[in-house]
């Protein structure tokens, strides 16, 4: 039941969500072999730019933070600062086992990476693999696009 005092701009919201999902500019945190696989995904065979994903050099211009590879204890505060520098609405994708759980280098295995990034910043999409194939990375980004499309970005009037 729609409350009588509100107006819902349903079509406009859909258009807005679609536009936002088609221009996910990313800032990349490199580390490990997943960074290499992301570079291949950007290359001409897989052509990431057809999803509207292109790299930017400043986190303040980015909609999306792509984190590949493990994050050490030393890097964690810098990553948090970087995340807070990004303007809202912002999304985070963790690529590879090291970013998701620490993987081979989780503390329980004897390594010193963080046991999962979600204790540090909120993560929208997890792409598993060691390293994930370019198809998996593209699939993760399509999943994120679906998520962005469903998000109501206009406040109710």
């Amino acid at each position: 039941m729609i409350p009588p005092s509100t107006v819902h701009l349903s079509t406009l919201e859909k258009v807005g969500g679609f536009c936002q999902s088609q221009s996910l500019w990313y800032f990349h945190i490199p580390g490990g072999c997943c960074a290499d696989e992301l570079l291949n995904t950007f290359g001409c065979r897989y052509d990431l730019e057809r999803f509207g994903c292109r790299p930017v050099l400043n986190p303040q211009h980015a909609d999306l933070l792509l984190i590949s590879g493990g994050i050490s204890q030393k890097a964690a505060p810098y990553l948090q600062t970087l995340y807070h520098e990004m303007p809202s609405p912002k999304y985070v994708v963790a690529i590879g086992a090291c970013a998701i759980t620490g993987g081979l280098f989780a503390p329980q295995q004897g390594g010193s990476s963080l046991p999962g990034l979600d204790s540090l910043i909120p993560i929208d999409v997890y792409i598993p693999g060691c390293p994930p194939r370019p198809e998996a990375i593209m699939n993760g980004l399509i999943a994120l696009q679906e998520k962005v499309k469903q998000r109501a970005f206009l406040p109710s009037v």
Binding site: C33, E37, N40, R45, G70, S72, G110, G111, R133
Partner: protein
């Protein structure tokens, strides 16, 4: 003015932190801080059983996981006093040369990103996909292949693998001409690279820098007292394919030229080896024991970035390595960076760092 950048900044290319003392855009003094990719690789290896050693070693240098595995494999085989079947040596050497090719192309993609020069980036990534396809054909995965076993390799060459290498070599030889025309013959790019970022010969001798960076400054790629003990690596420096024709002034341009030479050399070597590979066994059966004998195994090889060494200590009837330590080419290059950056302009730094072919993952490990 003091300026701090990093660890995640486009100026650095890889996660590291730099502190500059600036006069305008000229760097008066620079400090480098690393450790942002620290994974405790060596320590993690000592907490895992022997069978996990090679899997961890593959993550030493993520861009060329094969060489981390290979040097560890050589160390373990020395510890066990194993000798390999001849075909295993050949398969290893061919995959290693493919890894070298892949890493050389990775170098050019970094140069292209630093310039920035997107045409070259897409060219190199196109060629690299062909090599990654070959890895997939042989091992089932594009990166982190885990193809080596103690006593040989995991599988024989798959059907069509050697033929496809020959096709790749033919195509790449043709495309190298395009690379030369587009990158090395371009006067604007030449101006950006020549007389820039000169690595002096005395720094190379003082810090033990190896590989193409040393070669580009007129020093030998490996110090003469180092012997790499592998039938295919021993004579590598004497081979006709070994890069030595480029300019040796130590600037960025000479390093890029020598990387191009190395690319050409790897191609001609692959062509020869694919036709000469002997038939036979690819793995010595039951070579991997549950417990290893007491002692130290040392492996040493010329990786794509320079001299790569590995020491593994085993205790009596130990179920896991007692101590593992690597010595990597990039960690010997890092102390020189502050000296090299002094007097440079800020806008030249990405190209300079890309031309040195640093791998911070290898240093932090």
């Amino acid at each position: 003015m003091k300026w701090r950048v990093g660890p995640y900044h486009s100026l650095c290319l890889e996660p590291m932190r730099m502190e500059f003392d600036l006069q305008g855009t000229e760097i008066q003094e620079a400090k480098i801080e690393v450790g942002f990719l620290h994974k405790a690789l060596e320590q993690a290896m000592t907490k895992q059983p022997w069978s996990a050693t090679l899997v961890y070693a593959g993550h030493l240098d993520p861009e060329s996981s094969f060489f981390g595995e290979w040097v560890t494999c050589i160390a373990l085989e020395k510890l066990l006093r194993l000798s390999l079947p001849p075909r295993a040596h050949w398969i290893r050497a061919i995959v290693a040369e493919l890894s070298r090719l892949s890493l050389s192309l990775h170098f050019f993609s970094y140069i292209a990103k630093a310039l920035p020069f997107e045409t070259l980036l897409h060219y190199t990534l196109r060629e690299r996909e062909m090599i990654l396809d070959l890895f997939e054909l042989l091992t089932g995965s594009r990166h982190a292949q885990h193809f080596l076993r103690v006593g040989g390799v995991a599988s024989d060459t798959t059907a069509g693998f050697l033929d496809r290498i020959l096709i790749l070599c033919k195509e790449m030889t043709h495309r190298l001409t395009e690379y030369r025309d587009i990158l090395l013959e371009n006067p604007l790019i030449q101006q950006r690279m020549q007389q820039q970022g000169q690595l002096r010969k005395e720094w190379i001798e003082a810090h033990g820098i190896t590989g193409i960076n040393a070669l580009a400054s007129g020093a030998p790629a490996l110090p003469p007292q180092v012997t790499t003990d592998h039938p295919f690596l021993q004579g590598r420096q004497a081979m006709p394919c070994y890069p030595r024709n480029g300019p040796q002034s130590g600037d960025i341009y000479s390093r890029v030229c020598l990387h191009m030479e190395a690319l050409q050399g790897s191609l001609s070597l692959l062509e020869q080896w694919c036709e000469q590979i002997p038939p036979g066994e690819f793995l010595q059966p039951h070579a991997f024991p549950k417990t290893f004998p007491e002692g130290i195994g040392q492996g040493c090889l010329e990786g794509p970035r320079g001299l790569l060494c590995c020491d593994i200590t085993s205790a009596e009837k130990g179920t896991h390595p007692e101590k593992v330590s690597f010595s990597t080419p990039t960690e010997r290059l890092l102390p020189v960076l502050p000296l090299l950056l002094k007097g440079q302009l800020l806008q030249d730094i990405p190209l300079l760092l890309a031309s040195l072919h640093l791998s911070i993952a290898e240093v932090d490990r």
